[in-house]
């Protein structure tokens, strides 16, 4: 049994990690590792970077092709896609958000990791509405790029 099947928390080892160069242009991290029948992310990708062998196969992102456009973030029914962009000491994380208090650009919010632990503060850089899902981009220290996955407003 894999650890996440017990805890619900993915570890970095469960994920495919982009190169430094790929992080610099911004790429989508698909935190969707199980075989579940779902494929809207494939259709949402304007550059056909996301592919799937069949509807049950986990999606694979071709980091070379991915342009980090964030379109897939608001589409994913599992709220499991995050776009990460890193330049020097700064990281921008784009994540889906579906709670009542919607952050505004310029707000400082709490930054939470995969366990829901507050790991620091984040600056809200962009908020885009995708239906009822908010697609929020936050700025954090680059060391937290692959840890922060939620915000508390």
């Amino acid at each position: 049994m894999r650890q996440y099947e017990k805890t619900g928390i993915l570890s970095i080892k469960d994920l495919k990690i982009p190169s430094k160069k790929q992080f610099e242009k911004g790429v989508a991290i698909l935190e969707c590792v199980q075989e579940i029948p779902c494929n809207p992310c494939v259709d949402s990708c304007p550059v056909h970077a996301i592919s799937m062998k069949d509807i049950n196969a986990p999606p694979v992102n071709n980091f070379e092709k991915c342009i980090g456009c964030t379109k897939c973030v608001g589409v994913c029914p599992g709220l499991a896609i995050f776009v990460i962009k890193i330049k020097a000491n700064t990281a921008w994380i784009t994540l889906p958000y579906e709670f009542v208090t919607v952050p505004k650009v310029g707000d400082v919010v709490q930054a939470l990791d995969r366990k829901g632990k507050v790991r620091g503060k984040a600056l809200v850089k962009k908020v885009v509405k995708h239906g009822k899902t908010m697609v929020v981009t936050i700025e954090v220290n680059s060391s937290l790029a692959m840890s922060i996955r939620n915000i508390r407003v």
């Binding site: 993915l10 509807i55 589409v75 009542v100």
Partner: protein
């Protein structure tokens, strides 16, 4: 307590409806059921148990159990969880077994409806069956117990998985709206008759056609319909499973479906601090929706050693700080008249409780998401062959590829044919609807039938589709055996 702000649902302030509970005035809102209005006003105890005098609240919240029976305007045994709230009604708690009422049950003379196909249940399977059938020019009557059509879809605020054909990425509540629009269009063209707040009560003697009794409730009185049809599709859904532990009947112990109905359909907060039992997709999804409604989910306990639902659903909760404890279960509920807390216990690899591993937690609501059982009573009454298939959730009707049961012209679809989920229920509904239309000569489109079947196979192909796959394989084998013996 009412939910006024919600990230997904727009709960508008509705017209106030005053009514009486135990002679005391309470104000509900238009669109409420009696139970949702009472819950919003803080009334959780609706009845007392028959054997003991212990207080009881509702459990299933969707009209499938007997936990919410009350006397309304003198009529006993009204299922208040689905009975619409009306202005000025008198709602009372019943004494043990209710007295026979003085109120008139059948206030109106019997009416007759002649139709090609009767569909029981207007959830995802029933709606898709009705639409598919009516499109082929076959006349349809669809009957549902609730005020609104859509079944459990009307409370699914999350985006659906699946593929484009099954509307992946669309929220269940929006799919319900799309299906209802299609249904109402066909209704306005007189191709479908829709009967809500009504129950199909049984199958009766008839020379040629099938004959069913249907009762439409009208101001807590009833109108009896004599329905004659050539085929029937039973899409009656399923019922939430109960778990055995001391205190499981205390008001505040609810099925996951009841919690979801209260908060997402009626905008009523189920509780402030919730313990979720069960980490399958239902438990995980409802937990997240509780957070969205503003409740605190203390934690999720799961008796199995691993999380049964999708990791993406579990991950959403974990990053909000909600703990999921596998190999843990509920030992008992604490509280005199209502839920005040619970004792949890750790389980070993054989699911046996580990001594001295108890932990007390404070909560006001316990939500059970421990599986569902297909609703097959009507099938059984018709004389359809039923078999016990654990992977399908209990007794189900062996059916062929067209969803036809051992009795010709009797079809089944959705959870009533084996527990699965809404995307597959919709396809099964389409198959049953189209197959019934073909049988009655309304269509010859067997190609489309094949296409629908392929879609089903694809959706069940992954590891999470294993259980329904096994269930459906067993069902197919039993259907063959049974057909051969006939």
């Amino acid at each position: 307590m009412r939910i006024r702000a919600h990230p997904i649902i727009d709960f508008k302030k509705r017209k106030e409806l005053p009514f009486y509970f135990q002679k005391k005035k309470i104000v509900g809102e238009e669109g409420d059921t009696i139970a949702s209005a009472l819950h919003a006003a803080g009334v959780r105890t609706l009845t007392t148990s028959l054997k003991y005098k212990s207080p009881r609240g509702f459990f299933c919240g969707i009209g499938k159990c007997s936990s919410c029976l009350m006397r309304v305007n003198g009529v006993p045994n009204v299922r208040t969880c689905i009975a619409p709230l009306k202005e000025g009604i008198q709602v009372e708690m019943q004494e043990k077994l209710a007295e026979l009422p003085n109120a008139e049950f059948f206030g109106e003379p019997k009416k007759t409806i002649d139709v090609d196909v009767l569909i029981v249940g207007a959830g995802p399977a029933g709606l898709c069956a009705a639409i598919e059938c009516a499109k082929q020019g076959v006349s349809v009557l669809i009957v549902d117990e609730n005020q609104r059509v859509g079944g459990q879809l009307i409370k699914q605020t999350h985006k659906f998985f699946g593929s484009k054909q099954e509307r992946a990425g669309t929220r269940g509540i929006d799919i319900a709206k799309e299906l209802e629009d299609d249904l109402r269009k066909l209704e306005s063209e007189k191709k479908i008759t829709v009967m809500t707040d009504a129950t199909v009560i049984g199958c009766y003697e008839s020379d040629k056609k099938y004959r069913f009794g249907a009762v439409e409730r009208c101001d807590y009185k009833s109108i009896l319909y004599d329905v004659r049809c050539n085929a029937v599709i039973l899409a009656c859904g399923a019922m939430e499973n109960m778990l055995l532990f001391p205190g499981n009947d205390l008001p505040g112990v609810y099925g996951a479906g009841a919690v979801q109905t209260l908060m997402n359909v009626y905008g009523v907060m189920p509780g402030k601090r919730v313990l979720m039992v069960g980490a399958g997709n239902v438990g995980l999804i409802v937990s997240y929706q509780l957070l969205q409604a503003g409740s605190v989910v203390n934690r999720i306990v799961e008796a199995a050693p691993s999380i049964g639902g999708y990791n993406v659903h579990a991950a959403k909760l974990r990053r909000c700080g909600v703990l999921i404890q596998t190999s843990h279960s509920i030992k008992e509920v604490c509280g005199e008249k209502k839920v005040e807390g619970a004792v949890l216990i750790r389980l070993d690899v054989n699911w046996k409780p580990i001594k001295d591993s108890e932990e007390y937690i404070k909560c006001d609501t316990i939500c059970l998401a421990v599986g569902l059982t297909p609703s097959t009573r009507l099938l059984s009454q018709i004389g359809v062959h039923l078999d016990y298939i654990p992977e399908a959730g209990g007794y189900v009707a062996p059916h062929d590829e067209s969803m036809q049961t051992s009795v010709k012209g009797v079809y089944v679809a959705g959870d009533a044919s084996g527990i699965e989920e809404a995307s597959t229920a919709m396809i099964e509904g389409k198959i049953a609807g189209l197959a019934a239309a073909i049988q009655l000569g309304g269509s010859r489109n067997k190609k489309l039938l094949v296409q629908y079947r392929e879609e089903l196979v694809q959706l069940r192909a992954g590891p999470f589709g294993e259980k329904p796959r096994i269930a459906k394989e067993k069902i197919a084998k039993l259907a063959e055996v049974h057909h051969a013996s006939v």
